[in-house]
């Protein structure tokens, strides 16, 4: 390799050189060792460059703060974001880029999983062992679901052939942990100070909001979490052996909103977010006519999509400009979600596809 470095600044300008100084490894060590043997006359400039870089690093590191401050600032951020809920008013003006981004993510995922082999499974028993607390176990050997009430006010509707373990007194711990085998529907009491975790086979669900369903029987191929209300984060358990084969998406987790589900395939450790089979209207206890009107008369397409979006809590991605001239008249009150979309799309000559947990509308628009 030709390395025409002459002065210290030539070395400093070289990304590989900097990489070696800041993060040396066996390869770069031997490369630069050889380099110095081959060009002894450059030793001095190299040493100067290296020393200067190390000093810069020292200077940056001397400005670091403590972990406590890092945590405190993040807590402030979380509090600020929780007190003022995020209202999304903008309807994705950059939808093309969004679609492209989603495609990239999907491609990335597919690529990683081709190279993956089944890894070790985690079971209810293994998960339970990670708890240092004394656990209470409830199992449902009956043929009907029953309710288990937890100390913090949360309740669990436990399905037949299922069992959960939990700590009788959450007060003394900084998180609320429940271990599940089988299926259960959770209604979790809000407590921002004590996140609620459900460990089910290899999947960890962290609750940020209120109610959701977890299905994880020992012999199941998949672990499924469906969200009813609120927000829920799911991730593959930390303890899974052979982590190298799992992508960060699976380790860092994904956030689920109402009507979304996450399915973890236990063979490949692939975590996929999608819509539940039959998305339900949000806040279904309010009369439909009051909460969500689906009677449209010469309504702008964007308003129609917005109404559907709000009623089902689902992201609909479309180009507002393209459909600016589209008007829509119909009564969709009694149609299920996908039928609503079929009817709308047919009338404005568009089509829809479901990507990840979003609905993407494409078409050429309307001419008046």
């Amino acid at each position: 390799m030709n390395y025409p470095h002459h002065s210290a600044s030539d070395f400093m300008e070289d990304t590989h050189f900097r990489q070696w100084v800041y993060q040396p490894d066996a390869d770069s060590d031997s490369f630069w060792e050889e380099y110095q043997q081959k060009y002894p006359e450059k030793k001095q400039e190299l040493a100067i460059a290296r020393q200067l870089l190390l000093n810069l690093q020292q200077q940056v590191q001397s400005g670091f703060s403590t972990k406590a401050v890092e945590d405190a600032v993040f807590q402030n951020i979380q509090q600020e974001l929780e007190t003022k809920p995020i209202v999304s008013t903008q309807l994705f003006p950059h939808w093309v880029r969004w679609a492209a981004a989603a495609a990239v993510v999907l491609l990335g995922i597919t690529w990683v999983f081709w190279s993956q082999k089944p890894t070790h499974y985690l079971s209810y028993e293994i998960n339970r062992q990670q708890s240092q607390n004394t656990l209470v176990e409830k199992s449902n050997l009956t043929s009907k679901p029953f309710v288990v009430s937890l100390a913090d006010g949360s309740s669990v509707l436990l399905s037949p052939q299922s069992k959960i373990s939990y700590c009788e007194d959450f007060d003394t711990h900084d998180k609320r942990e429940v271990f599940l085998s089988g299926e259960a529907f959770f209604e979790v009491a809000k407590n921002a100070q004590k996140p609620f975790y459900v460990y089910a086979n290899e999947l960890v669900t962290k609750v940020l909001g209120t109610s959701f369903n977890v299905r994880a029987f020992p012999e199941d191929k998949n672990v499924v979490v469906k969200v009813h209300t609120g927000r829920v984060a799911v991730a593959v358990a930390d303890k899974i052996a052979d982590k190298q084969k799992i992508t960060a998406r699976e380790l860092d987790g994904i956030v689920l909103l109402p009507n979304q589900q996450a399915v973890l395939s236990r063979d490949e450790f692939r975590l996929v977010k999608s819509l539940v089979e039959n998305p339900s209207l949000l806040s279904s206890n309010t009369p439909i006519s009051l909460s969500h009107s689906f009677e449209f008369e010469s309504a702008r397409a964007s308003d129609v999509f917005k109404a559907v979006e709000e009623a089902y809590g689902i992201d609909i991605v479309f180009d507002e400009e393209v459909f600016a001239n589209c008007l829509f008249t119909a009564n969709l009150t009694d149609e299920p979600l996908y039928e609503k979309l079929n009817i709308i799309c047919k009338s404005i000559e568009a089509s829809y596809q479901i990507l990840d947990a979003q609905i993407i509308i494409s078409g050429k628009g309307c001419h008046l």
Binding site: K43, I48, Q59, G63, E70, I77, L208, A233, D252, G253
Partner: protein, 195 residues
């Protein structure tokens, strides 16, 4: 600098799509770097923390309309810098804009040359170098850090400091010129130890 195998770009992407965990990971990855960098722009640590806090709150709030960042680090550092300067401006309405100060007016006690002459020969080389670095004109020093520690291209440095690319190159070259002259003497003295 990065031991985690997840790239900045993937974390950014996931944050835009609403992953709170990716958002936190991004924060954890950059908090210390940002504090350290921010304190160079203004030494008031509490204010720097506030600026970082606001920066991340805004990122989450506007995540739907955020673009695909070509360099996440560039975005974070340049945004933080702008925010701190804006805060400074609103706190001290009559103070001079830091960016507009002429180079000569910036604080610089002794020149490195005099300092070196006064030092004992056997003083710790490291401390000397650190001292010199701290005595560089702040803009030169900042450019030096951005280039050689943070790995930014000159065009990015120009974007962060809001100057022309050629000016960014000059800043770095000027700083290096002084440092190198001094470092040669030091290094010649210590070469025996290193090799």
């Amino acid at each position: 600098m990065k031991s985690n195998f997840e790239t900045d770009e993937r974390l950014w992407q996931a944050t835009r799509l609403g992953s709170e965990l990716a958002f936190e990971a991004l924060y954890r990855r950059y908090f210390q770097i940002l504090v350290s960098y921010g304190k160079r722009i203004h030494p008031n640590e509490a204010m720097v923390n506030d600026a970082i806090q606001d920066l991340f709150i805004d990122i989450w709030r506007t995540r739907h309309s955020l673009g695909q960042a070509e360099s996440v680090k560039f975005y974070l550092m340049s945004s933080l810098r702008r925010r701190i300067l804006r805060l400074l401006k609103s706190d001290l309405p009559f103070s001079e804009e830091w960016d507009e100060l002429p180079e000569q007016a910036l604080p610089m006690e002794d020149s490195p040359e005099t300092l070196f002459a006064e030092e004992e020969e056997n003083a710790l080389q490291n401390e000397k170098l650190n001292k010199w670095l701290e005595q560089l004109p702040p803009r030169q020093y900042e450019a030096l850090l951005l280039r050689y520690f943070h790995n930014f291209e000159y065009v990015e440095i120009a974007g962060i400091l809001n100057i022309k690319e050629q000016t960014a190159r000059n800043l770095v070259q000027k700083a290096l010129y002084i440092l190198r002259k001094l470092a040669i003497v030091l290094i010649i003295m210590v070469l025996g130890f290193i090799f």
